[in-house]
Amino acid sequence: MNTALQGAAQTASKKPSQVYFFATCVIDMFSPQSGLDAVDLIERAGIKVLFPLKQSCCGQPAYTTGFSSDARLVAAAQLDLFPAPWPVVVPSGSCGGMLRHHWPKLFADDPVRLEKARDIAARTVEFSEFMVNTLGLDLSGASAQPVTVAVHTSCTARREMDNHHHVRRLLKQMPGVEVVVQEHESECCGFGGTFSVKHPEISSAMARDKVDAITATGCDALISADCGCLLNLNGNLEKRADILRGEHVATFIRNRLDHSSGSPNRLETSK
């Protein structure tokens, strides 16, 4: 067992028996398979996953556009959905950042809601972070089929959540996976919520450059832990008729675990 796995096994001891899963609107409507794969991996570790059916959205789209009172109401509708003290796993970095950092700000002048928001913020954990720090799944038995992987880290993961190392660490635990690094790796993919609609040419130029840099690596797979970025990157890849599609880290890991031989990745599109 390598040291990374030992570390994972140690931290795995504080595994909760249950977790809440807050898919948020992006995964629920646009990328459901990523959510299912994440749930599957969590369950493999013997944890029960609770999916509150009343959940919708973290409020980020309105919040970052300047409609924070609308965002507040949507976020407020989520506050009572996670009453037990279980971790709230969010499979997308930027939604996680919204819960952890911005919900408490949204309710700064509403003591009752503020307390709930703070409580949830403290329990919020992004999926890849949860995988590394808590699940401790043994990935060494995954498919050893050689595959080169480019990783796109969302800006939230990198700068707000400080969890951009987690995906790489998970990939390192799997045999046959070679990570390649694209040019300007740390630069934004150009999504930025409504930015992509308000300044489409700038956003598109950023997305194009990002996709150019990724495809230039010749990678077999593109992984991210953020479904917002993936929608942007995959929309771009599809439009330029490239066969590469980015996939959520949960999907990639689940496939490697399930297909210890055979094709390394199944194409998953956002269609």
């Binding site: 009343k54 300047g66 707000e160 930015f195 300044h199 489409p200 929309g235 956002s270």
Partner: protein
């Protein structure tokens, strides 16, 4: 001197940025230049912990100074007057330009030699003096190149970054008498040097900006590599410095960490060639230095930013340019697209106070909120948060709790507000949201193929055939059966 001026306004940002994005040469120039600056800065802060520590000192210094701004300005003024410096306050550009004009007239000067000063760009000093028959000659090499081309700076630290050496070679051969075409940078620089030397020697008035002001000593600090700042503040008989009221710190020792942050963040240098501390005009018995010194302290919207705590952080800025170097938007659209003296992220958060939010309302939205600017800002300005606050202010009238921002709510559009209202109703009521998801996934084939800006470079955004909640329920049912 060329008088063709590029009329660029922040109102035209969308148009200009669209043009710039489509210009591969310009994008190439900026990408190359920004990568260069990013690498140089990174070499100065090899480990993030060291940077974080130093930044904390810088941030505390600026916050401390701003929290006592009126007191420090008072103290500064008293010390400057004791040294014999004329202190002028200017509420706006018109005030500042009038002060320049009065000083020029008093000294019968028809020419001023200028060191680099972004505040003088802000008040459009050159244009204002030109209408009065007074020539302001830029002496920073980059600024000089732009001036003889009738062009404007596109970066606050490297103003002529958008020009290639071929552009400059051609320009010099056309505009400098007796110059022949050469792409040799040393030769080009020495051409500029010899033209400007005569100006330094003959000018009655030298103009400079200011990087820091020190209240306890009445000192102004100038950071530069070329030596033109020293020339402008040493050779002419009169020195006029202009800066924003926010640039003051309390103590001399406070400037040391700020200086360390500034040069490292700006050009990736541990120090600049010159760090020039000026404490008053020439004293009795000294043989050189200006006999008369003026300091113009400009407001021009800064007090507006000061009044709201979130906006006040904007004034912490030490104008290093790191935020623009790291900004993926700036890198793609270049500095001219913004139509403001200060481009890039700092421009997008300061310009609304200088010019009003109505003309600049497209600037705060021109960001993916990726956070690269806030990450590198050496004084810890939370730029993305300020951008969000400005987006909000552009769309909502304040409830009266805070002071009105000029141009507040100017970007409010009925349709946009209604869209978000509808979104809010749908997403905050699960009895509406759940059927909505159900229907949206069933009717996914109805998704429009042209989705505003999204489909510019992407396939349409289309709901999945089944939502995660449904698939999960199906899966669970399946499991129960087995």
């Amino acid at each position: 001197m060329s008088v063709t001026e590029h009329i660029v306004r922040p109102e035209d940002f969308k148009l200009r940025s669209r043009e710039s994005v489509a210009d591969p040469k310009l994008r190439g120039n900026f990408r190359g230049a920004m990568d260069f600056l990013i690498d140089k800065r990174a070499a100065q802060f090899p480990d993030n912990a060291t940077f974080t520590l130093l930044r904390k000192v810088g941030e505390t210094t600026r916050k401390h100074a701003l929290s006592r701004l009126p007191d420090l300005l008072d103290q500064l003024e008293i010390n400057l007057q004791r040294l014999g410096v004329n202190v002028h306050y200017a509420e706006n550009s018109a005030d500042a330009n009038r002060i320049f004009l009065e000083i020029a007239k008093k000294h019968h000067a028809d020419m001023m030699i200028k060191g680099k000063s972004m505040v003088s760009e802000e008040i459009e000093l050159n244009q204002a003096m030109a209408t009065e028959g007074i020539e302001c000659i830029e002496s920073d090499m980059g600024e000089y190149i732009l001036q003889i081309d009738g062009d404007r700076p596109s970066h606050i630290i490297m103003p002529a970054i958008h020009k290639t050496k071929q552009d400059i070679a051609k320009l010099f051969s056309e505009k400098i008498p007796g110059a022949t075409y050469t792409e040799d940078v040393d030769e080009l620089i020495s051409m500029g040097r010899s033209v400007l030397r005569d100006k330094f020697r003959d000018a009655r008035i030298g103009v400079s900006g200011v990087n820091f002001m020190i209240a306890e000593t009445g000192t102004i600090a100038l950071v530069e590599n070329e030596g033109n700042g020293r020339m402008c503040t040493t050779i002419p008989d009169v020195h006029i410095a202009i800066t924003g009221i926010e640039k003051v710190v309390e103590k001399l020792e406070h400037v040391v960490p700020l200086y360390a942050l500034l040069t490292r963040s700006a050009t990736g240098q541990a120090v600049s060639t010159y760090f020039n501390l000026i404490t008053g005009p020439r004293r009795v018995g000294e043989k050189d230095g200006p006999r008369e010194m003026h300091l113009i302290l400009l407001d021009n919207g800064r007090t507006q930013a000061y009044r709201e705590e979130k906006f006040r952080a904007t004034l912490q800025c030490i104008r290093c340019g790191a935020c623009m170097n790291h900004c993926p938007v700036y890198t793609r659209v270049g500095g001219h697209s913004y139509g403001t003296a200060y481009p890039g992220p700092i421009g997008s958060i300061i310009s609304p106070h200088l010019l009003g939010l109505s003309g600049t309302r497209d600037l705060p939205t021109a960001s993916s909120l990726c956070g690269a600017c806030g990450e590198v800002c050496p004084v810890g300005i939370p730029i993305p948060e300020i951008l969000m606050r400005l987006r909000e202010a552009a769309r909502n009238n304040s409830d009266g709790a805070d002071q009105a921002l000029r141009g507040q709510a100017s970007a409010r559009k009925m349709l946009e507000a209604l869209t978000w209202k509808a979104w809010r109703i749908l997403y905050s009521n699960s009895f509406l949201y759940r059927p909505f998801v159900f229907i949206a996934t069933r009717l996914r084939w109805l998704t429009p193929t042209n989705q505003a800006g999204w489909t510019t470079s992407r396939t349409p955004l289309r709901p999945a055939p089944r939502a995660m909640r449904e698939l999960l329920a199906q899966r669970n049912k399946q499991r129960e059966k087995n």
